[in-house]
């Protein structure tokens, strides 16, 4: 049943009794052409594009818990494509273009709000880097502009731009097409759309092993039994190393907690996304009114989805430095996701030495924005058994050849 205002009006007449399940809860088939491990946004998007773009519909997404329960449901919802290196810029821009039509594509309102993403510069080094970045981004055909301190103040009047603060705001870059989206809706929207194309979404189905014949995969062992698969795509951010180990692979990945928090909801007060590397803040306001604030990565490996108080304390100090008026706001909820930290702060979306086993991981702190684009190129990689030109550089081999895509500048502040 198509979602529409008309549908809601009809529903109002009969207590909304007719809305069907957004996706089926099927029993696993004995085998699929493709099994996607991980029912997060990236995995569901991969399944959707496999079915939609490549006609591969005999697909299962296996999820150990509930879909969207990993980093998809734990991030700060920022979407942008202002990346330095060509490879990243083109990938994230593809994703951003998909975001721009995603609600209509999926018939599910993902609430992609292009309210702009502003990155602040606080010292001369920041300014140089910002010029470099903006210049490269624009030449790549992506919108980005430079704002002076006065323009920063005009665009976001509540930022403290006083020259007397510890790290004064010297300027900013602004990507107006960037913004935020409703994170859960992305998972649900892709799930519903993929389901309608025939994809089986198998929740509470944890992968416990990967079966191989020689160097070729044959399926996955799960808590719901063995499921055969000609191809397997691992999209299990946070647990990528665990899944890879089942296939006998070692990855250049460490799992770390990344914390975030929200304030109590208040009336609109912040209309854009503000990010600062030097002061270490990224903040926006959700449609519900909460300030959504990203904190730092805890320094140790962890699979625990919980963080520490000191990271939150530092985060609050940084926020108040830039927004002194937020001091009396209150922390309502803090949580953590487990992110794949990759040495060059760029993802891996590639074939592996194990035939039929593909891996999509290493998004670090910035995977949410890539959700549709990641699914799009990964579906191509699995269906065609070769990367799309957009992900050709994001290989595993780069870690031995040295051809890294070093985006630490982009990730200097988690996002």
């Amino acid at each position: 049943m198509k979602y529409s205002l008309l549908g809601l009006i009809k529903g109002a007449g009969n207590h909304h009794k007719d809305w069907p399940a957004a996706w089926r809860q099927p029993e696993p088939k004995p085998a699929y052409d493709v099994v996607i491990i991980g029912g997060g946004g990236h995995g569901l998007a991969t399944a959707y594009f496999l079915a939609k773009e490549h006609g591969v519909t005999n697909v299962a997404v296996v999820e150990k818990g509930w879909i969207g329960g990993g980093n998809t449901g734990r991030n700060t919802t920022i979407v942008r494509s202002n990346y330095l290196w060509d490879e990243s810029a083109h990938l994230y821009e593809k994703s951003l273009k998909l975001w721009e039509g995603l609600s209509q594509e999926l018939n599910f309102n993902t609430m992609f709000s292009q309210r702009g993403v502003m990155n602040l510069a606080h010292n001369l080094h920041d300014l140089r880097e910002l010029n470099r970045r903006v210049s490269a981004i624009r030449l790549n055909g992506i919108d980005s502009e430079f704002l002076t301190t006065e323009q920063v103040k005009a665009f976001c009047p509540i930022i403290n731009t006083a020259p007397t603060i510890r790290y004064p705001v010297l300027g900013a870059s602004l990507q107006r097409r960037g913004g935020t989206a409703r994170h859960d809706a992305v998972a649900w929207g892709f799930a519903r759309a993929a389901d309608r194309l025939g994809v089986d979404i198998l929740q509470n189905c944890e992968v416990t092993g990967i079966r191989r014949e020689g160097i070729r995969v044959t399926g996955v062992e799960t808590t719901r039994g063995f499921i055969g698969a000609r191809k397997i795509g691992s999209v299990a951010a946070g647990h990528s190393s665990v899944i890879a180990a089942m296939a006998g692979l070692r990855l250049p990945i460490e799992s770390h907690p990344l914390q975030a928090l929200v304030s109590e909801p208040v009336k609109p007060v912040l209309d854009t996304v503000v990010m600062s590397g030097a002061v270490h803040v990224y903040v926006s306001q959700s449609d519900k009114g909460e300030l959504v604030i990203g904190a730092g990565i805890d320094a140790y490996n962890s699979y625990a989805q919980r963080g520490t108080l000191q990271v939150i304390e530092e985060q609050m100090a940084a926020l108040i430095e830039l927004f002194p008026m937020f001091s009396r706001m209150r922390l309502m909820r803090q949580w953590a996701g487990i992110v794949d930290v990759c040495p060059d702060a760029s993802p891996i979306m590639a074939r592996t030495p194990v035939e039929g086993f593909y891996i999509n991981c290493g998004w670090g702190t910035g995977g949410f924005k890539a959700t549709p684009g990641s699914g799009w190129v990964f579906a191509h990689t699995i269906a065609q058994d070769r990367p799309h030109e957009l992900n050709a550089a994001f290989t595993l081999e780069r870690f031995s050849s040295g051809a890294l895509i070093d985006e630490h500048g982009a990730a200097a502040v988690a996002h």
């Binding site: 809601l8 030449l139 109590e264 449609d287 706001m329 922390l331 031995s400 040295g402």
Partner: protein, 999 residues
């Protein structure tokens, strides 16, 4: 109206001797010390306090503490305003001003209430199904949605108040000062342990403050007074009232938010910290956090006047407030019987107690009937009628399975419905600690099951509702916790209390509907039972899906009163058992914590304290503009009069090139390296060879990461056969120090090398220019200064201006230069002496900007500017510094990888703009093809770009693909819509042979 219409003349824990005036929505009321805003409003007969989040339905006070979902107010004004404060937790003070949130123009008549009429259009998750057309219109829809959402208003001014943070260690931390917590603290304290007892309320006592009962044969409140007095007398016990244990983190680390001044009128807060966050490392934790009463889910259960039974009881007993004139009590358990009696005693006419259970507790029912209160067994309130206040309750008999109604409807007029739907142990902190929960059928609630940390839950927090048992549990846990820390023998005697028979509650999660009303589960977020059923139908049947789809439990109360009801209704809708549905993870904080309190003192000047050199006051006096480099404040340039940056830098550069400049170089990192294997360490971490360096000489070195990328650079001097002085970049000092230690300790532990960071031991003035040696000669009698005795890249000990100094002949400017190191305490004296003596050469202080220009003219790179973690020595044209014969150094193998050998790597070049007056933008990109449409292929970027006063033209350094083979080419350089052309050159523009710096 100032009379407290619903306040009783006696009783309660308030101070009637003093009257406090306050305003709510602009109207003046009065209350007393001891009141909360909620109790004072109720004392004045005010129930209607707000409008709901989605439907803007009128809402009243539901609870009496942290669980309150409805009564959120905007507290205070101007810079002191605070949104979404629970009226039940705001202590009354004279002059308090509060207002309702989320309604306009007012709480009685609110335009948003139109949403209530259209409610049918807004089921759970309606926004996912619409607002998609036309594409890109979401921003417009969003504008309206955002304004409708949100609750209170954020402050618009900086917070004038300050906050504290503090650390504490204790043997036993007791969270919660109710009977169980008090018993635990007493037992642990008596054993001699260091105890912290924290309770969120202004007064310690928890349920004892509002309830009756006897302990040790005396009224419980008398026992409470003795207990608090005894604790106050124990030297090792710290009692923190107004202190919420909000977070339970790893390794028994807990956060406590203490309110120090919120209960005072603004005028009395001056000089005090407003709040303080305690960070406590506890040996053992006793969780005595009590339980939270659940509402019942029936139609109209959100009307003002419908409140939790315990709250009604607390208002009667603790605050001597009659919550209404005529009450109906509805319960599924025993506890509300006492409420009915207490209400009756306080002067509220109790029309009826409806007990959902067919079998009622006989003794209690008898007491009610003696008090003239009818008990309707097997009955429930199925609808509450009214508008801005409940006016009547519809009572029906429940069918045997709880899903049907029987018999006729009775409409009982009332202005209060006191509700008890059973109790949920407050397991929030336990869950945060990583403990696992278990569903307990007997109490119909989640209780702690398996612990992960050194804690124990006691009393109502673990489902022990009986007072005697709770006291015993507390005493036992307190004694055991103290014993574990080495105090006492682990035993304690518990005070005696009257035990009560308890008949199990009858969970009826959704009281059957008699009509068409809305039955609310999450009353703050306007989530109804129908919404939960819809979510289940649509497949959002995982608990987290339910929460996220319907927003139940996502409000400022985080579902304290609603989570279990929502879970149970979901279980019913999906035909599963509650434990199979599971529970959500409770996340910190238990109740919201002020951002400012979490930041504590780390704001303003203490946000990240600036590092200043010994000469800083001189720079400030000179009107210097500073640059932030890491944490350091470095002089950027020294404008004279109205000079611009450009003018000042040109003047400073000319001074260095033609006469004499002076720079504060104190911020460079300095590491003292000693030991027999010191040279080996240098050989390992630098690319070049160090063994042959003579004592008295210096050498430039480049450090790489293991992947072969440039990481830091600097000059290192050999002070003795086994003694070196290393310098690093300003920003890299700590990194390099850690790097060296890491290699030493983890890879070469057998080497005998000792490192000491001496960055701040030394103040450094660098003098540079053709007159540098002359000035040195004047001030430095004991060092032979000519180029043969004291050559370039050498160092000497001596005195400068009478100050013991270590002088290095190194140069980053390309001129003859001396870096004079003196003890930091002598830095200012040295600087002043140099300035005075150098006046005849017009000695000119120069900052980092001029330094950058001067070094760029020489083609010297700055790590972090010409490099970005992707640049090899070869890329910089510095292959000469990479020891080909060295068997090993950090980064050697990395450099041999395929990608590091590509001929088209980006390499350092010089650029001369075609327009010699144009200074290229630093960061501008070099295009492969100026005519190409986007995406334009790029070949590199400008890393440094300046106006050179020396060359009388602009110039730049850049990284360019295959750049070394492209000298002479002209390339298009682009930034911000402008394409300029520049000629590629060798990256050196001044004194190529280096005669000046050697001279």
């Amino acid at each position: 109206m100032t009379a407290q219409s619903h306040r009783n003349p006696t009783g309660g824990r308030i101070d009637r001797a003093r009257t406090l005036g306050f305003t709510f929505n602009g109207r003046y009321y009065e209350g007393h010390p001891g009141d909360t805003l909620a109790s004072a409003l109720l004392a004045n007969g005010v129930h209607l306090v707000g409008r709901s989040f989605k439907y803007h339905r009128p809402r009243g006070i539901v609870g009496s503490g942290a669980e309150e979902p409805n009564a959120l107010v905007q507290l205070g004004q101007g810079a002191l305003t605070e949104p979404n404060v629970r009226a039940t937790q705001a202590e009354l003070h004279d002059g308090l001003a509060a207002a309702s949130v989320n309604c306009w123009p007012g709480v009685r008549w609110d335009i948003g209430a139109i949403n209530g009429l259209l409610g049918g259009l807004f089921p759970a998750g309606f926004y996912y199904k619409t607002f998609m057309w036309p594409a890109r219109a979401w921003r417009a829809y969003e504008w309206f949605i955002r304004r409708a959402a949100g609750l209170g208003l954020a402050p618009r001014e900086p917070d004038p108040e300050r906050y504290d943070g503090t650390h504490a260690h204790c043997d036993v931390l007791v969270a919660g000062g109710g009977p169980a917590g008090l018993a635990a603290a007493l037992a642990a304290g008596r054993a001699g342990g260091r105890v912290i007892l924290a309770d969120e309320q202004a007064e310690i006592g928890g349920s004892l403050l509002a309830g009756g009962g006897t302990i040790d044969g005396r009224p419980a409140r008398a026992w409470l007074d003795d207990a608090t007095a005894e604790l106050a007398g124990m030297a090792e016990v710290r009692v923190l009232p107004r202190a919420t244990v909000f977070g339970y983190y790893d390794h028994n680390y807990l956060g406590i938010a203490e309110r120090l001044a919120d209960h005072l009128p603004p005028a009395e807060r001056a000089g005090r910290a407003r709040q303080r966050v305690w960070k406590v490392r506890a040996g053992r934790v006793v969780l005595a956090t009590g339980a939270i009463e659940r509402p019942l889910v029936f139609d109209g259960n959100d009307r003002p006047g419908v409140m939790l039974a315990t709250a009604a009881q607390a208002y009667a007993n603790r605050w001597a407030v009659r919550v209404g004139d005529r009450a109906v009590v509805v319960t599924n358990n025993d506890s509300a019987y006492q409420t009915a009696l207490d209400l009756s005693e306080s002067g509220v006419a109790v029309a009826l107690l409806a007990d959902l259970r067919a079998e009622v507790p006989a003794a209690l029912a008898q007491r009610l009937s003696r008090a003239g209160i009818e008990v309707a067994a097997g009955s429930a309130v199925v609808d509450a009628a009214g508008g801005t206040r409940v006016t009547s309750a519809e009572i029906r008999r429940l069918g045997a399975d709880g899903t049907t109604l029987e018999g006729p409807a009775r409409h009982v007029p009332c202005d209060v419905i006191a509700v008890s739907g059973g109790w949920s142990p407050a397991v929030h902190l336990f869950s945060q600690s990583g403990g696992r929960l278990r569903w307990d059928e007997a109490i119909a609630g989640f209780v702690p099951d398996i612990s992960r940390q050194a804690e124990v839950s006691v009393g109502a927090a673990r489902g022990t509702f009986d007072l005697a048992a709770a006291l015993a549990e507390g005493a036992r846990a307190g004694a055991a916790a103290a014993h574990a820390a080495g105090f006492g023998d682990g035993t304690a005697t518990a005070p005696a209390a009257n035990a009560r028979e308890v008949i199990a509650p009858r969970p009826v999660w959704r009281v059957p509907s008699a009509g068409r009303g809305k039955a609310f589960v999450d009353i703050q977020n306007d989530v109804t039972a129908a919404d939960i059923a819809l979510a289940a139908r649509e497949g959002y049947s995982a608990v987290e899906h339910l929460k996220r789809y319907t927003t139940t439990g996502m409000g400022t109360d985080q579902g304290k009163t609603s989570n279990v009801n929502a879970l149970a209704i979901l279980a019913h809708a999906t035909g599963t058992a509650i434990p199979a549905v599971g529970t959500t993870t409770f996340r910190p904080p238990y109740t919201p914590v002020t951002f400012g309190a979490l930041a504590g003192r780390t704001v303003g000047p203490l946000f990240d304290p600036a590092r200043l050199t010994a000469m800083h006051p001189w720079h400030v006096q000179a009107g210097t503009r500073f640059e932030d480099v890491g944490q350091w404040k470095r002089p950027w340039y020294y404008p004279r009069g109205s000079e611009t940056l450009h003018q000042a830098v040109a003047r400073e550069c000319r001074a260095v090139r033609t006469s004499l400049g002076i720079m504060d170089a104190s911020t460079l990192g300095k590491i003292d390296i000693q030991g027999p294997d010191a040279a080996k360490l240098l050989d390992l971490v630098y690319t070049n060879a160090w063994g042959g360096l003579e004592v008295g000489r210096c050498r430039y070195g480049l450090m790489l990461k293991e992947d072969g990328m440039v990481f830091d650079d600097g000059v290192t001097a050999r002070l003795g056969p086994q003694h070196f002085h290393m310098t690093t970049t300003t920003g890299g000092a700590a990194r390099v120090m850690a790097w060296l230690e890491e290699w030493l300790q983890t890879e070469r532990p057998h080497w005998r090398v000792y490192l000491t960071s001496v960055t701040t031991q030394w103040a450094v003035a660098a003098i540079a220019g053709p007159n540098a040696r002359r000035l040195m000669a004047e001030l430095c009698p004991n060092i032979a200064l000519d180029a043969i005795d004291f050559p370039f890249m050498a160092w000497r000990d001596g005195t400068v201006a009478g100050i013991a100094a270590r002088v290095f002949r190194v140069s980053f400017s390309g001129e003859s230069a001396f870096e004079i190191n003196v003890p930091s305490s002598q830095g200012m004296a040295l600087w002043q002496a140099l300035m005075t003596a150098g006046a005849k050469y017009d000695i000119t202080p120069y900052g980092t900007e001029a330094m950058h220009v001067l070094r760029a003219e020489k083609g010297f790179v700055i790590v972090g500017q010409e490099t970005d973690g992707t640049v090899t020595p070869g890329d910089l044209g510095m292959d000469w510094i990479v020891g080909k014969k060295k068997p090993d150094f950090v980064g050697r193998r990395g450099l041999a990888r395929a990608d590091c050998k590509r001929p088209d790597r980006k390499q350092l070049v010089g650029l001369l703009p075609q327009d010699p007056k144009e200074v290229l933008v630093e960061g501008a990109q070099i295009m492969a093809d100026a005519a190409a449409p986007p995406p334009v292929p790029m070949e590199g970027h400008v890393t440094s770009s300046y106006w050179s006063a020396t060359l009388s033209r602009s110039f730049a350094l850049a990284l360019l693909k295959g750049g070394r083979a492209r000298h002479g080419q002209t390339v298009p350089v682009h930034a911000y819509g402008k394409t300029s052309w520049a000629q590629v050159t060798e990256p050196i523009f001044y004194d190529k042979e280096g005669e000046k710096l050697r001279g």
